[in-house]
Structure formats: C-alpha cells, structure tokens
Assembly symmetry: C2
C-alpha cells in the first residue's frame, strides 16, 4: 500500500480522499525505449507488465505500443492486486523473460526487474506557496535571524522535482532538512506508506508534497511530535495531518483484543511484506496463537478462521487503515504486545516496515 | 471450485444451496497418524496445513492435536482460498517440510503432498431409496426382462461408500454403469466441478449421490441428453438437475459479448487451473485480445481493466456460476469462439477441464 501512481486505496474514511483515483488525463512516461532495449538484448519471448491498481486500465494501451515496437513477443498483464514495490508479482516475474514494474521506485534492484517510476507532471509549487501559511515564519518581527527548520518529504511520483522543491523552500528562507531513509527507500526525501525514516530529521515541522492523505497520515502517526503539513498538488488543497480518528481506532482495537483467547498471526507471503521472525516469535511464546500464511490479507479470508483476534505482521497499512473492516480486532505486532500485557498502553506507536527482503 | 468438503461456494442462485456450508457437527478423520509419521520420517520442522473454505475453522484444533503429537514443529495454516485439489497453496508447499492438503482427493500424487480426503460419515441410502421414484422402473409390467442402465457418480467425500452404492443399486435390479474419468479424477465414479468424464457412460439416467447441486448441475450441463437425479444425503432431499437458468445466462453472456471490441483473456496461475495454450492461441489470433495473469479470478480484480469482455481459461465454474457478478460478459473459451463468429451458436456446451499439470 505504498506510493501508488494513481492507485486507489481500499480504506473507508479520510483515506478515500487520496486523490489517487482521479481520472483526469495525466500523461505518464512509460519509458518504452528502455523496455524495448531489454527485450532485444535478452531476445525475450515473453514480457510481464505489472501496474498499480489505478493504472491497470492503461495496461492494454502500453501493451499495444510495445507490440508495435517489437516482434513475436507475448505481453502478459498482471491481474494481481499491487500496492507497492513490496508487492511484485513473483509468479509473473519468474515466468517471463522481461518483467516491468510500473509506478513504484525500486525497493531492491534486480537484473530481472525493470522499474518504471512514472513521474507526475503536475506542478507542485502553487500548493507549496499556499502551504507557507502553515509553516513557521522565516522572518518573524522578533526574529533571531535563524532560519526555521522544515523537513521535506514526497513520494516516488514527485521525486524528479525534489531538488527544485528544496531550492524553492531555501530561497524563501527555510533551513530545509532532508535525509534518505533506510534500504527500503530509494531516494532522499522519499516516504512509503510503511516507512517514514526519511522524516527522522531535527525539525518540528515537516512539509509533505504529494497527492492524498495516505502518506502524511502515516507520517504523522509515526512522528506524533511533528506538525505535518500537506501540500497536495493533485487535489489542489493544503491541510494539516490529523491522526486523532486513527489513534482512537487503534486504542479501541487494542482494548477489544485484550479479551481474546485465541490469536491468528498473519504472515504475509508478498515478497516485500514478510516478517517471519516477528510472526514466529509470537507463536513460540503464546500457545493460543496460530500462524496463517496468505498474500492478500482481507476480511473475507480471515472470516473463515474462528480466532478471537488477529496480528498482522505484513503491511502495516492493512491494519491501521482497513482494520475496522475485519470482523475481529486486527493489531500490529507492537499493539499485540500491549494487548497481551507484555508492554504498557503508553508504548503504542505506528507500525513501520524496514529493510527489503 | 471442485469437491469441497464443507466448502461454501460464492455463487448466487441455486448453487448457494449446496448444503456445503452446513454447520452440524460432522466428524472427520484427519488421519493425524499419517501426518505424524511423515513429520518423523522427514525430521520436519515446518508443516503446512491447507483446508477448503468450509473447514478452515477446524484448522486450529487440528494444529493443536498435531502439536501434542509432535515436538518442535511449527504448523502453518494456509490462509489462501481453496476450492479443490487444483488449488494447492504452492507457496506454503515449497516452504514447508511436510504439506497436508485436506478435503480433496489427489489430482496428482507427489512426495511433497499428503492428501487427506475427509470421508463423510453421512448415510446415503435413505435418499437413494427415495431417488428410486426418479429412476426407470427395474420391473415394468410390459418389461423385456432387461435391467435398466443407470450411471452412478459421487464426490470425493463419499468415495469410501461407492462400492456399496453400486451393490445397493444392482440388488434393486439396475445395470449400474460406472467408469473412471481421465487423469484429473482419482476414483471410479468420481466427479469434479470441472470434469464429468466419469459420466461418459452408455445410460440415459445418471444418479448423483452427494451434497448440494454444484456438481450435478455441472454434470447436467456437460451431458444435456441425460436425466440427472440428485440423491442428497446432506440436505436430505431428492431432486432432478435443472440447468435452464444457467443455460439462459450463458446464451445471454455470449450475445452481450458479440459487441465486444477488446478482450481480456484470463490465464489462471493456480497449479491445476492453467490452460496456457488455449489462452495463448486466442491472443495470437485476435489483436484486440490481451493476456491477464492472476490466481483468484474475481470481479474486483477485473474491474480495473477497461476491457469490453473477458475469456476465462481457468476454472470453468467461475464463468458459469459467478459469471453474472462480473461487470462485463465473462465467457468460456468455447463461448468466446461463438461470440467472435468462429463457431455457430449451436456449438455452445459446458466447459470442462482435463488432465492435471
């Protein structure tokens, strides 16, 4: 559930308004030349194409263009749901000569995979201009001359303009703090739905530039001490991330799960979403906990098991955003430790995902 | 979608009343000794357990029993949907030392897989007695002394009583015709949701003994010239299969699809549901047809693609039973040939699946 290009999230509530499902005709650069080069170099007979949900509709046209540029190649569109670079269609990857993953930056480079990031052509600066009202004043009347520190983050779609955004803020008197996160993040300043290590910077304010609230809400949950301002050039709106509703839901789920006698512990089989040791440790220490393996973690699939509560060691966003849709409490690994009494309630924090695979 | 033990089908209409979702406490023999022997022989550290949908709820108790009989073994429950022996959780199979598949008879034997069939303990004979009213009279007043021919079929759950059923009918004066189907079927007289080769017998009447209408409706669609009587000992009812509603739906879908300009051709990646050549041939001959690969073929997944119609080369029952739930016409490969004008409308027949993998 990370930086989808045009990807729709399946959540109710705030996150539906991510602007990711906008249908206005953005044009993307599918980097067909790079794909055709790889086909020719490898003498490929089969090519797999994987798009995030919101861009699957573009798949046939991209396949058409590629057919015209190649000969005797069979193109296969992945029909598996896709929510991030953590979510490669490994079946298709193994069975095609060239495999192209669109819309996400690489989580892990591989000769087998061509990543096409799909940079947005939307202009971020008008909304950044508007966001200044939420940032500290660079030239206060009673100023000490120090420039105010502001963190800057964005998603894969806007990475190509990140240096310009930094310059733009610096020119307006800010001390812009940025960093690259851990291995899971390709670029400096990049955030994923499950990883905000790029916002581990010394600044009380963070400006998020990008479409929707999915990423900045995660960022604000991970860094509750920071004010997170959203400059959204896709929906043309500036807001401040408010996590109150989500935090209430988390506490409610933890409280409900405190009565659970039996636990289903979900190990996600998606290539970049597996935390085997975490899952294994829970089961080793709790005789009423049982391991369940699956790729898509959905309410339907878990309803068939008669457990009182679940722990999801896969994508944290399934838990925080889709959690209320499950028939039983669904917790993150950290929340589970609270529910069974191993940790105090005050230790509740956002679940993040580190490393690759 | 084949012989689920207790599996619920997801279809609307007649097929919901399959009796497969009954919650009365049937007891099954999980053959724990056979599993424990395999664990010990192989020194297994991990064991995967896969149940059909309706029996997933029993998984934790089976895991508990196995934990008591073994030491230092981690048991993993498959959370993937499962509708048949065609639908093995290959991820779990590859990553566990012993893999147990419950509720279906083997489609293909393998050292890696322990199949536990789960025979029903329900008594079929009272309903068979009642079904005699629908079968030809063995002793008509104007008889020629010849015994009337009746085919007999059942599902994996009742295979253990199949010889007794044959005897029972023979004793009542019938010439019972049975056969084993092709490689896809383990036992003589066994049917799957996608394969009725065991009913290719010289008899105008076929008696189906088993729960629900899922299998006998498929059988009646595959053999429209035969009268198919259903002796259902799970729901305690005798009926005659009536395919009219389904056939109307099939013709309606084919007619709607005749206007389609673009086609999505689904290749199913489940181990026993792939028809690669069929899918590949369609795409090779129609430049407006595009290959899509996926495991679960669902309306949600196909909605993201902008095609006018779909061809499903995977499980035929998704097409015939769930077809109306898709937003665009969903056809079998044979129906596709009619819709694009390669074959006459009269050639419409039930789609079946042969061989293993």
């Amino acid at each position: 559930m990370s930086q989808d290009a045009g990807g729709e999230t399946r959540s109710e509530g705030d996150l539906r308004n991510t602007g990711m499902s906008l249908r206005h005709d953005r044009e993307w650069d599918y980097e067909l030349d790079r794909i055709v080069d790889a086909v020719e170099e490898r003498g490929a007979e089969t090519v797999g194409l994987q798009f995030p949900e919101g861009l699957k509709r573009r798949g046939p046209a991209v396949a058409d263009d590629l057919r015209e540029l190649t000969e005797d190649v069979t193109f296969l569109l992945s029909g598996q749901p896709c929510y991030g670079a953590c979510d490669l269609d490994t079946y298709l990857m193994r069975r095609t000569d060239v495999f192209v993953h669109f819309g996400h930056s690489p989580m892990k480079e591989s000769d087998k995979i061509i990543y096409v990031p799909l940079f947005s052509n939307v202009d971020p600066f008008p909304m950044m201009e508007e966001s200044l009202a939420e940032l500290p004043d660079p030239e206060p009347e009673s100023g000490d001359g120090e420039r105010p520190a502001v963190g800057l983050v964005t998603t894969a779609q806007h990475m190509n303009l990140f240096p310009d955004m930094v310059d733009w803020l610096e020119e307006r008197g800010f001390d812009v703090r940025t960093r690259r996160g851990d291995d899971r993040l390709t670029h400096e300043g990049q955030v994923l739905g499950c990883n905000y290590a790029s916002a581990d910077i010394d600044a009380d304010h963070v400006l998020y530039v990008g479409g929707g609230k999915f990423h900045p809400l995660g960022l604000a949950m991970e860094h509750p001490e920071k004010k997170v301002t959203i400059a959204d050039p896709v929906n043309n709106v500036v807001t401040v991330a408010d996590t109150e509703q989500f935090m209430k839901q988390r506490y409610a789920s933890v409280h409900k799960a405190m009565d659970a006698e039996t636990w289903g512990v979900v190990f996600c089989t998606k290539i970049g979403q597996g935390r085997w040791e975490t899952a294994q440790e829970i089961v080793a220490e709790n005789e009423n906990a049982y391991l369940i393996t699956m790729d898509e973690v959905t309410p339907d699939r878990l309803r068939n098991f008669g457990f009182d509560a679940f722990v999801n060691t896969g994508c944290p966003r399934i838990t925080t955003d889709d959690g209320p849709q499950f028939h039983k409490p669904m917790l993150t690994p950290g929340e589970y430790e609270i529910a069974v009494g191993n940790e105090p309630l005050e230790s509740l924090e956002f679940d993040t995902f580190h490393g690759t695979w």
